[in-house]
């Protein structure tokens, strides 16, 4: 190998991979990734066994709900580049779909869980008209329209008769024992989170995901190359909305009550975006990592400082730090560093081959 060829090879290795990062943004290592996924799944399954206290499982449940919602957000916003700050619309609609259904059909006990598909259907169904309006505009205007939808829905939750207004609705009581009350919820959330990540991964691998990313990179060109842009965007929006609605329905039973402020929470929208950005926007593992780190951190901060304000300030500061110093998220930034280190290491191992330029 001539020195120049080696130098080229080293430069190739050192160069950060162009284009959108893959599963995690890390170089593809199927075995390593499989092992990592298995470890995370095992940790998720064993968590309530290791930490059976209701406090711990409550944290776990909340975190898993956010893993699901952040992944659902990412499979639309992260892949397509259309930032939605109105996903609480789907979450809240799922909450109210189940709440109103359980109340009107007088469901009690575990029977209420039969309504969860309804939550998904409502979340996905609402996404169709909203998407048809919002997906006609791009960039800032799209973001603002999703915010507008959010406020319309919050206003409706406050003012429509069937939502119970400001006081909201109360879920049917489940007569499960207190010690293990959280566990079924926890495993349901784990299932939902796992399924969402799997869907996100499948979409990314498929032509569908390729279409979405083509739209993100250059929508006009993608359209010119034959991508049915509106249909693709709308499909992703609906899938994302359905999952978020389902998560809302499950969350409603766990919390036991629906109120306009908590079901349609502006901080929810922001948290999803923050989690996806934190881990790595548009990657499969990024939102999972973001949710696993940020949701417990936020819960802990709120519990630790009792005042919401301090945790709010810290959340904002953390957000800024991530955006400014790791604009592509933790995983892609880490992968770049790793690639650079590996190249440097390789260069050191073959000192003779490398002549300094």
């Amino acid at each position: 190998m001539t020195p120049s060829a080696v130098r080229q090879a080293a430069a190739r290795a050192a160069r950060p991979r162009r284009g959108p990062p893959g599963f995690s943004g890390l170089p593809a290592r199927p075995l390593l990734i499989a092992a990592g996924v298995l470890a995370v799944v095992a940790a998720g399954v064993l968590f309530p066994v290791a930490f059976p206290s209701p406090v711990a499982t409550t944290y776990g449940f909340d975190t898993l709900i956010f893993v699901a919602c952040a992944s659902a957000w990412n499979l639309f916003s992260g892949y397509s580049g259309y930032l939605s700050l109105g996903h609480a619309v789907f979450f809240g609609s799922g909450v109210y779909a189940v709440a109103v259904g359980a109340q009107d059909w007088h469901l009690t006990g575990t029977g209420v869980f039969g309504l969860l598909p309804l939550a998904a259907a409502v979340g996905g169904g609402i996404a169709i008209p909203l998407g048809l309006v919002a997906l006609r505009v791009r960039r800032h205007t799209f973001v603002v329209i999703t915010i507008a939808f959010f406020f319309i829905f919050q206003l409706m939750a406050f003012n429509l008769a069937f939502t119970g207004g400001t006081s909201g609705l109360v879920a049917p009581i489940l007569n499960w024992s207190g010690a293990t009350y959280n566990n079924p919820f926890y495993y349901a959330a784990l299932l939902l989170a796992g399924a969402t990540v799997a869907v996100s991964w499948l979409i990314r691998r498929a032509r569908f995901g390729l279409h979405l990313r083509a739209i993100r990179d250059d929508e006009d060109r993608a359209r010119g190359l034959g991508v049915p842009a509106l249909r693709v965007k709308l499909a992703a929006f609906v899938v994302s909305g359905a999952i978020t609605g389902l998560a809302g329905g499950l969350w409603y039973y766990f919390i036991g009550a629906a109120a306009p402020q908590s079901a349609f929470d502006p901080l929810f929208d922001l948290s999803l975006a923050l989690m996806a950005f934190f881990g790595g926007l548009g990657t499969v593992a990024g939102p999972v990592l973001g949710a696993l780190v940020l949701e417990p951190a936020q819960q802990w901060l709120t519990a630790r400082f009792t005042s919401n304000y301090l945790s709010e300030i810290l959340l904002g500061v953390l957000f800024l730090v991530v955006i400014i110093f790791m604009p592509r998220g933790v995983l892609p930034t880490a992968s770049e560093r790793l690639a650079r280190w590996r190249a440097a290491w390789r260069r050191r191992r073959e000192p003779g081959a490398e002549t300094r330029p």
Binding site: L85, V133, H140, T141, I145, I313, G316, L320, P327
Partner: protein, 293 residues
Amino acid sequence: MASQIYPAIADGILVGGVYALMAVGLTLIFGVLDIINVAQGILVVIGGYLSYVLSVHLHIDLFLGLLITVPVMFGLGLVIHTVVIRPLRGSERTSMSLLACFAVAIIGEGVLYAVFGADVVTLHASYTQSSFQIAGYYITDIYLYCFLLALALVAVIYLLLYRTRFGRSVRATMQDPVAARLVGININRVAALTFGLGVAVTAAGGMAFGATSGGFNPNSGYDLISRLLAIVILGGLGSIGGALVAAVFMITLESVVDIWSPSWAVAVFYVALVVVLTVRPAGLFGRAAVRAQ
């Protein structure tokens, strides 16, 4: 009914002027920096609290206090631009800046809660309660004063943009940043000053908002920013005239709907926004280019 509608229209136009001032700041920032400053709402509230502190603790008149609060907010705008906006680079800059401004808004809200608590605060002066009669209807003095203030400040901004060298470089940057740079305009300076200017108007906007609304607390930022966003998008992003027209039109409409249904009046904004964007994706006065990615 007419006895209610005419005062509602008058109030709507007067308050609409105040919103127009805040919206002009927002749309200017968008035009030059290509970002939407979603922190504008909380900045207005901060401006309101500054006026509150000055009038309650130092007994400085609300309008005189602006001589202090406007430069302070201008400085705050420069700081935000330097610390948060300027470091953002790369292809994701647009979406990142939006989230960064959101983060600023959250921090601002948290700080306000920590300092002032959640209690609703109102701005008082001798002229906030008094009113005068015109054609048989009563109009509160402060509404007229704030409208005149907003009018004066919008006129100042207009003159600044269309009669000064700085204004010419701002407009050049709005039209084409690359070409502006090629002819020797210091884009970074223009961006920083524009951001400062856009934030500075929130000092006046906050005072006027605090004096004309029923009161405010740190949570008012959400309400404000959602209205302002609806206004600037309706008017067409980056269009100053559009922002003025949309502000007066929307606030008047809200004020009139409020007669029948106070709880649904706010919805008028978003419904109008959705309807207009369905028909005209670039807004009423927007350029088609706004749509391009």
